[in-house]
Amino acid sequence: MWSYPAFLVSGLPWTLSVTAGAFAIGALIGLPVMLAEESTFAPLRLIARTYVNLVRAVPPIVWLFIVYFGVGSDLLRLTPFGAAVIGLGLISSAHLAEIYRGGMISVGKGQREAASALNLGPVYGFIDVMAPQAVRVALPPSAGYAIGLLKDSAISSAIGVPELTERANEAAQATLTGLPVYVALAAIYILMSVPVAWLARAVDTRLRAKVAR
């Protein structure tokens, strides 16, 4: 007989790749977005703030649909996986930019002043003084966001990415007994987030001690 547990787990690599891909895009684009938000040039700041607010004000599934059905059907062809990674990646960039900004703010103002007093300039002041300390504060909430993203990746089932939730839908239809399938599915998501949360807490206490305020 066809066994659904193995089938369900075959969606796991897809869930993990969507999450990792989207997080990587978000972590990369989030940095320039944060820098633009903190820029002294007002128009740039306005654009960045509008981007962050607009991205966060629209539900993730709507973004995925806009990318997959909207952009994907007219302008360029996108696979469901590509659309999910791009859509969730853009959403992550807005959220991570805010997390980075929180990290920057938590670093004492005196650090920035000290960097400029040492004539480090804005670039080296950022790379050598601000960023290393801000990362320590921003890392745990970023890990928390990654857990949220892992759960949000479930919506990519709506555009047909064969990840965990989509597999569960198929398995539920095939076996005609939905309940055990969905309970197992929920348990998988919960079990996956436990180690990340545990690691984030452990790292948090070690890193926070090293930030000057």
Binding site: A57, F65, N169, G178, L179, Y182, V183, L185, I190
Partner: protein, 219 residues
């Protein structure tokens, strides 16, 4: 440009009907979920092992599983046990569960932020534990939880878009329906996105104001 405006005016009535359902689901989920969250908060901080365990199980499941999975668990899963719910009732049941789980943590944080002296004072003037909760801790704790609760309400409103997957004719379902009839997916989905933004942006500004006004312990 005028073509787009014309198109959007023709889409709008249908989308606003969908918005009605989204808002109804949001309000009902919050109205059921937040009181349940309060009960869960009290259960989880109770000294009874059984109450604590049961509370934690409901909270961890409701928070740990994606909202989409909860929706599908209720809509596609419960019929296995013979319980058939309409998509509207399933949506409210699942989102209320999600709300209860998250808000219990928010409320618990609010209750914890009430200084310990208040608890002692309540005992000192002879209030029994239930009355201390009712007249002293909950009013002060809830007040501090308000900004976070508003923030969560925005999230639940956004989460109603997930009900697309259980065939509830809410805002996203209707825009997808229009898209599949007209093939103007981009235009209609953009309009739907703007409607969501038009509600969520003012709501988050309100939340920031509230945070400034009552984000700290007030005497």
């Amino acid at each position: 440009m005028s073509e787009l405006v014309e198109e959007w005016t023709s889409f709008l009535p249908d989308l606003l009907q969908g918005l009605d359902i989204s808002v109804e689901v949001t309000l009902l989920s919050l109205a059921i979920g937040i009181p349940c969250g309060l009960v869960l908060a009290v259960l989880v901080s109770s000294s009874s092992r059984l109450a604590k365990g049961a509370g934690l199980l409901i909270v961890e499941f409701g928070r740990g599983a994606p909202a989409l999975v909860l929706l599908q668990l209720v809509y596609f899963g419960l019929p296995t046990t013979g319980l058939l719910l309409s998509s509207f009732v399933s949506a409210i049941a699942a989102l209320a569960w999600n709300t209860a789980a998250y808000t219990s943590e928010i409320i618990r944080a609010g209750l914890d932020a009430v200084p310990f002296g208040q608890r002692e004072a309540a005992t000192a003037i002879g209030l029994n534990p239930l009355d201390a909760l009712r007249f002293v801790l909950v009013p002060q704790g809830l007040r501090m939880a308000i900004p976070a609760l508003v923030g969560f309400s925005i999230q639940i409103f956004q989460a109603t878009s997930l009900c697309f997957t259980i065939a509830l004719p809410e805002l996203l379902s209707r825009s997808y329906g229009i898209g599949s009839q007209t093939f103007h997916y981009f235009s209609v989905l953009l309009l739907a996105g703007l409607i969501y933004a038009a509600i969520c942006i003012p709501a988050s500004i309100l939340m920031k104001r509230l945070e400034h006004a009552i984000g700290h312990y007030a005497t």
